[in-house]
Amino acid sequence: MTMTTARAKSNGLPDLDLSAPLLEVSGLQVEFRTRVGNAHAVNGVSFSLEPGETLAILGESGSGKSVTAQAIMGILDTPPGYVTGGQVRYRGVDLLKLPEQQRRKFRANNIAMVFQDALSALNPVFTVGFQLAEQFRMHRGTSRAEGYKRAVELMDLVKIPAAAERVKNYPHQFSGGMRQRVMIAMSLALDPDILIADEPTTALDVTVQAQIMKLLAELQRERHMGLILITHDMGVIANVADRIAVMYAGRIVETAPVREIYAKPSHPYTKALLESVPRVDQKGHELSVIKGLPPTLTRIPDGCAFNPRCRYAQDVCRQPPPPPLYDVNGEHTSACHFWEEVRGQ
């Protein structure tokens, strides 16, 4: 906490409230204005994150999980994407209201992101050392030589062998796993207290995935960072997350502590997803299937967006407004009118 206080002051952010949550997103809305109509990618997403906590955001492609992350980071492509409502508060300060220059400074010091595809996230024409050192030069005013020294330290930190030599290599000279380590090193450079990892291991082989997830968990523990892990892999989540938020068509449909949600899913979508993944430790029976397709974001169904695919759906589910997040047991919420029935079975 003392570290946060000191750093917060040096950021020059106004009115930080250190008793407020580390990160609190409320009612976030994002839409993409396209020629075929407005795509409502994020429709009122709310969650909070505390230091040392791992929050997993689970969703399929098009569920709005990456767009949420981009909106928090302030790196949404505008146009076509616009944040049309809600707040993103860091220790009580609404980041969406900050002028761009201040936001950039904030981003540099407090929040960092690891992207899925490290090869396209890194610049191919500069050495990784240059790209790592650049941050220290830009935001800390260090010299070039000092920056390189810090870059080597970072690469050591993420366990890249022979860091002193490899710092002179270009991104294409690294393997997929090593490249992702470089990405992680880069995100940690300025000691952020929030890390957003957007599908950090999706492009990697399982053995490499295990290495990277272990590294991320270690670093998070050491530095007491809040980690937002965005993924579609329910196995990865079961291994690392504290809490889960499940997204569907731009909304959070269920949140719960990780053990609770696997044991007692209370939203039909979560439940169906859990039943549709094959497990390596069991020879399964026929996989249960979620019929149909996720909705097009320009035409989200009225009421509950999941209703056309849901086996519990009744008339009330087809009527607007969409179901609110019902409180299941204090720390578990579900946006289903029939959560008791879903949970009970």
Partner: protein, 337 residues
């Protein structure tokens, strides 16, 4: 399932030459993509082939369907060696083995309608279905994979990823093959769509008596669908057996490491599984380690591993073929203590 042998490979080898020089090309080495693979596939069976990227899975697939010529070894389909038959015969023999590709977005021609895509195999093999019955047959195929036969005139972009993969499957079924080779058929799809396609493949197998070779990196999917499993590492099969043998009683260190890395969607198992985290990356197939190719990353490696290549055979501590001098059972996917 019965014992009728559908496909057999013996010492299958594919090396891609590495050359230097422009005018006077000389070979300076070879990428040993597939190096001595023996596989057997029986009627109605699903053989899973698993391994990480770069282990030679896809090259193996290309060899089996005849898109690459092997450097050595043989492929027998129904007892017939494809490299020894004449041009016209090859065409007829290849009908029997069809491919479903990984990426449903690039493996369908965007300028052709679904009907043309699924019907194209009939242009190449005109004797399978007479011309006047083709349209009906195409509609039948489209219906078989669970799509609306009225959509025959639509283009691929009008379908979702899962539907496109169904189109790819319909195309593979057009020539009534007995063997279907699936190269990562579901890895590009979302979880909820994955299950639909896996179930479809299983239904088709029951209905049409197909044999599958199912190549994938996702070990959970392979466990679900495969009867027997072969684990590949750097162009070689390191362990082979039934799905119980491989998943519940793995004896090769690589298989164990691979399985231990697969996350299980059950938070109750967190910290209660035997954890093996491998160091380093897969070595280059252009310059593989001597002896056992896994020894550079193996915690059991001893001197013998560098000098003597372990054969894929049954061993004292392994009831199924395992290519490790120190093969030993270790449970890595279930709860321990």
């Amino acid at each position: 399932m019965n014992d009728e042998l559908m496909l057999e490979t013996t010492d299958l080898v594919k090396h891609f030459p590495l050359t230097r020089g422009i005018v006077f090309k000389r070979q300076v080495g070879a990428v040993q993509a597939v190096d001595g693979v023996n596989l057997q596939l029986h009627r109605g069976e699903t053989l899973g082939v698993v391994g990480e990227s770069g282990c030679g899975k896809t090259t193996l697939a290309k060899l089996l369907v005849g898109l690459e010529q092997p450097t050595g070894g043989s492929i027998l389909v129904h007892g017939q060696d494809l490299s020894k038959v004449s041009g016209r015969e090859v065409r007829r023999a290849r009908r029997n083995i069809q491919l479903v590709m990984q990426d449903p977005y690039t493996s369908l021609n965007p300028r052709m309608t679904v009907g043309d895509i699924v019907g194209e195999p009939f242009d190449i093999h005109p004797d399978v279905v007479p011309k006047d019955k083709r349209r009906a047959r195409v509609q039948e195929l489209i219906e078989l994979v669970g799509l609306n036969p009225d959509h025959i005139n639509r283009y691929p972009h009008q379908f979702s990823g899962g539907q496109r993969q169904r189109i790819g499957i319909a195309r593979a079924l057009a020539l009534n093959p007995q063997i279907i080779l699936c190269d990562e058929p579901v890895s590009a799809l979302d979880v909820s769509i994955q299950a639909q396609v896996i179930n479809l493949l299983e239904e088709l197998q029951d209905e049409l008596g197909l044999s599958y070779i199912f190549i994938a990196h996702d070990l959970s999917v392979v466990r679900h669908i495969a009867d027997r499993v072969a684990v590949m590492y750097l162009g070689k099969i390191v362990e082979q057996g039934t799905h119980e043998e491989i998943y519940d009683h793995p004896t090769h260190p690589y298989t164990q490491a691979l399985l231990s890395a697969v996350p299980v969607p059950d938070p109750e198992l967190r910290g209660h599984r035997d954890e093996i985290v491998l160091e380093g990356d897969v070595p280059s197939p252009a310059n593989p380690p001597s002896g056992c190719r896994f020894r550079t990353r193996c915690w059991k490696a001893a001197e013998i591993c560098a000098t003597e290549e372990p054969a894929l055979e049954e061993r004292l501590a392994s009831a199924h073929p395992s290519a490790c001098h120190f093969a030993e059972e270790r449970d890595v996917i279930h709860r321990v203590a």
